[in-house]
Amino acid sequence: MKGNPYLFAAYAVTWIIHIAYISTIVSRYSRLKREIVELKKAR
């Protein structure tokens, strides 16, 4: 298989989209964990 910029771009962009979405899940999860700690402190 020879290197093809379009093929590389398509595969790369697929994983960039998936990793970006997973990053949003991870960041939302971290924020929620902080909120839970604050809620427990406030009790």
């Binding site: 298989m1 093809n4 398509a10 697929t14 998936h18 979405y21 899940i25 929620l32 839970i36």
Partner: protein
Amino acid sequence: MKKAFPILGVLTAMLLSYALYQALVVAPTERTMGDVQRIFYYHVPSAWTAFILFFINFGASVVYLIKRNPAADIVALVSAEVGVVFCTVVLVTGPIWARPVWGIWWTWDMRLTSTLVLWLIYVSYLFLRRFSSSGETPALAAALAVLGALCVPFVYFSIWFFRTQHPQPVMGGGGSIDPRMLHALLINWLAFSCFAFLVCWSRYRLEKLQREVDHAHAMRSLLDPSGSVR
């Protein structure tokens, strides 16, 4: 269940690596398009996965409309969100494939346009979920999801009903495919389906936790309306 997640994560990563190897190394090079045709192994499985997620969204929305079950509402939200991610992959990899093969990035033919409309319907569904605070939002969103699901068969069969630039479907399109290409395609679909399942699972847990925290905030406000912490 919590222990199963990392094991399934490792298995899915291995399956995705094997699928990538199949797509880039094992599958033969297509005669007319050359190596750029290998985009097919990411483009088509992403489309199939998005369609399945939109159908799950449809099923969960119907269950929610009938039973008002909160778990069904979460499944509907999660499947729509992950479905939009996969549909975005389809809409981005398609033009990257089209440019060297057709000489254009985009054409307003029925398959491409209907896929874009489908994506817009589910993006509007997510906007509705995100920005409307009415108690009836899940029911309204479920009704929109039913409309969106009606578009999925139209998108899939549009290349049969209309003359389009887009090629005929791999399955049931009347053409033939090399068995190694078919194997690579199905392995990639399986890998992306497992990956989608794991992402949905994580997102489901996150949404459930979010609702619990929102409920705790609401209870706290009810018990202490001044906002001061005792």
